[in-house]
């Protein structure tokens, strides 16, 4: 949430559905309250908006904007689930698979992974069309209670914001530029930081993939009871409209 004081309410539409909002609300915040799901990866409840993954791109007033950062406007007509936007989102997700080493069959985040769930939601039923970059990244298991497998990182930055804004620590940060930009830890390795397993940044809900791992709890939740075993990502928002 931006923290901006809310004023008089107004309405706008998303794919023809009338949505209520107040001044200062983003398109995504208004959509969530109205039970309209807009796909997202870098945005997370309780963290400041970043608008970097672009999976939440919608068309507003004929322009492509990030729904998580773009303020809602009275009378605005927003396009969300159009074939064009869905394809664009699927392309983005495919590129995330192409950039990293996402081996869902052996990943402990499988079933709880937002990237995997987003791929299912966007009907990405085959391997990415883009050639895998197969980066060679080492696993940092130096910390006694936490491991970091950056082969699975999608650079969403949620851990960076959680560590800085919620934990008040700054364990994580970005290094590099362009395609080389990566999440890194503030030290030689994770053991060299003040990260703790109880940090919000380390919690399963903050890392959308299997990059940040709390040690020795992998696969403890059986298949069938994992977060996305019983519904598509976003279903809990969409259920508000039912």
């Amino acid at each position: 949430m931006s923290g901006t004081k809310r004023e008089t309410g107004f309405t706008f539409t998303i794919d023809g559905v009338e949505v209520k909002a107040t001044a200062g609300m983003t398109i995504m915040e208004a959509a969530d309250e109205a039970g309209v799901y807009i796909p997202r990866l870098c945005d997370h409840e309780g963290l400041r908006h970043q608008g970097s993954c672009r999976v939440c791109t919608v068309k507003a007033g004929g322009r492509s904007v990030a729904a998580c950062t773009q303020p809602a406007a009275p009378g605005q007509s927003v396009e969300n689930e159009t074939p064009h936007l869905t394809k664009m989102r699927r392309d983005l997700v495919e590129m995330l698979f192409h950039e990293g080493n996402h081996l869902c069959p052996i990943c402990e985040a499988s079933g709880n992974c937002e990237l995997q769930a987003m791929a299912y939601r966007l009907d990405m039923t085959e391997a990415t069309r883009f050639p895998y970059l197969e980066p060679c990244r080492s696993l940092d298991a130096s910390h006694p209670d936490i491991a970091l497998d950056t082969n699975r990182c999608i650079s969403c930055g949620r851990c960076i914001r959680a560590s800085q804004d919620v934990d008040g620590k700054g364990v994580f940060g970005y290094v590099g530029r362009g395609i080389h930009r990566r999440v890194a830890v503030n030290g030689e390795n994770l053991a060299d930081t003040d990260a703790e397993a109880t940090d919000h940044a380390i919690s399963r809900e903050v890392c959308p993939v299997g990059c940040i791992i709390r040690k020795r709890v992998g696969f403890a939740v059986p298949i069938g009871e994992r977060e996305f075993d019983h519904g598509l990502i976003g279903h809990e928002i969409e259920e508000k409209r039912k």
Partner: protein, 480 residues
């Protein structure tokens, strides 16, 4: 005088994995050398290094799509040891056992009905187009139906215990991640009597074949060997999930007994040969020439003092009576042994389904960390050893896997040579049916070459014929 030849059978069909057979004939068309070559390489032992210990049971089961549960459980047992857990909760141990019995049942049924039955029903030299499961179903629809439904039952047991029919996640270091809900238990109990009846019929089918083809079974790929398996710690009974190591000679003399499997490396050594990606293990004290041994269903029938489920126990006694209680050295008797194990597994499944511990909620134990773990299990194809070392950061630093098909490497090669000598030697023309005899001998071991080379793919068999100077004269390839 004919020119020397080399025959290549590639791929070997109706087995899991990818291999080929080469048969060298001399100038008189007599078999000079015959070998089973494993031409795949997978490298699990290497790339598991660096991964986190609780990922291991989920990663290494990808060695195989037929018996992933065996790798999953063997690795989980090794991780129990590393997690410092020597005794699981009753619910965890029984859920794992249920998973394993479902696995052995479905794998044995797959092999006997889908892979081996065409040879047994239609003859080893039957036309190639006849030798498949579809012809079996056409010829005997009831048998075909049972083959499919029995396998389905075993697969559903796996799904209920591991979360998926193939490549689940049930076993975790120190225990299991689920119990068996009452409604699932009742579903399985509603069909268990039918599964018992069908398993008894399958034992009878395999037994009748073995006894009615006494001469063939006695000579086809048969030779004396040592045998090794786990047996139950207390009394030497057949135990597919846990126990100690026992090895017998071909005449039934004990080579070693009740050896904790954590000492396997003191008892067996792996030899390497330049022409195969698969190693050749042997019993250390006997050396490579005399120390090779066989594992699997027939080996287990030979090593086990008895079976602790009543119907399988009777069947076991009948099989043992054929050789007067001595080890049975007939390769083809593996099919009979395999069906006895199906019956045993179904009896065990019934026993477990009636045990309220399966609905317990105490699923995981913890203990003091160790650096090394060894897990051994009797997989469908035989003894399976997983050995790992893990550092203080929970990362794997060492992995050694000895799978059933590797244990049987020397035995399969001898069977190939035995059958080649008996059925190909002195023949001017080698027919496809003759070559299938070689495959039948390999198939009796139900080899999984994917597991054995730690490989992905179908199982093509190739036979090559070389002259005395090493030049290839003829080659026949069978595709799946």
């Amino acid at each position: 005088m004919a020119e020397p030849r080399l025959i290549e059978i590639s791929p070997v069909t109706r087995v899991e994995g990818h291999g080929k057979v080469t048969i060298h004939l001399d100038a008189d068309n007599n078999v000079d050398e015959a070998r089973l070559h494993i031409v795949e390489f997978r490298g699990f032992e290497r790339f598991i290094r660096g991964r986190l210990m609780w990922e291991v049971p989920v990663i290494v089961q990808r060695l195989c799509g037929i018996c992933p549960v065996s790798h999953h459980l063997a690795a989980a047992k090794a991780m129990d040891m590393i997690a410092g857990v020597d005794t699981l909760t009753p619910t965890a141990e029984k859920m794992r056992r249920l998973m394993h019995y479902g696995q052995v049942m479905q794998s044995h049924v797959l092999h006997f009905f889908h892979l081996a039955a065409p040879d047994l029903l239609f003859g080893f030299g039957a036309p190639a187009e006849k030798r498949n499961i579809f012809e079996v179903i056409k010829e005997n629809p009831e048998l075909g139906k049972r083959a499919i439904l029995m396998r389905k039952y075993g697969q559903e047991i796996i799904e209920a215990t591991a979360g998926k029919k193939i490549h689940g996640t049930g076993a975790i270091p120190g225990g299991i991640n689920r119990n068996l809900p009452i409604e699932r238990r009742d579903h399985f109990l509603s069909n268990i009597d039918e599964m018992i009846d069908w398993s008894r019929d399958a034992v009878k089918l395999a037994r009748d074949y073995t006894l009615e083809h006494e001469d063939l079974v006695a000579e086809f790929g048969s030779f004396p060997s040592n045998y090794m398996s786990l047996v139950r710690e207390s009394d030497g009974a057949l135990d597919l999930y846990h126990g100690n190591l026992r090895a017998l000679s071909s005449t039934g003399d004990m080579i070693f007994d009740q050896v904790p499997y954590t000492q396997y490396h003191e008892k067996i050594v792996e030899d390497v040969r330049s022409w195969s990606y698969m190693k050749f293990p042997f019993i250390t004290e006997l050396g490579p020439d005399a120390g090779w041994y066989r594992v699997g269903p027939l080996a287990r029938m030979n090593t086990a003092s008895f079976i602790d489920t009543p119907l399988a126990a009777e069947a076991h006694k009948e099989l043992k009576a054929v050789t007067g209680g001595s080890p049975n050295n007939s390769t083809l008797a593996n099919h009979w042994a395999r069906m006895i194990e199906v019956l045993h597994c179904v009896e065990k499944i019934r026993e477990l389904l009636n045990d309220p511990d399966l609905q317990g909620t105490d699923l995981v134990e913890t203990g003091d960390r160790r650096e090394e773990g060894i897990g051994v299990i009797e997989a469908p194809r035989g003894n399976l050893i997983h050995h790992y070392k893990v550092d203080e950061h929970d990362q794997v630093t060492y992995c050694n896997l000895i799978v059933s098909t590797t244990h049987n490497n020397e035995g399969m090669n001898r069977a190939v040579k035995d059958v080649a000598v008996k059925h190909l030697s002195g023949k001017e023309q080698i027919t496809e049916g003759m070559l299938n005899h070689v495959e039948v001998a390999i198939r009796a071991y139900d080899p999984c070459l994917s597991c054995a080379t730690h490989a992905l793919g179908q199982m093509p068999l190739q036979v090559e014929l070389f002259d005395a100077h090493g030049g290839m004269i003829d080659s026949r390839t069978q595709c799946v």
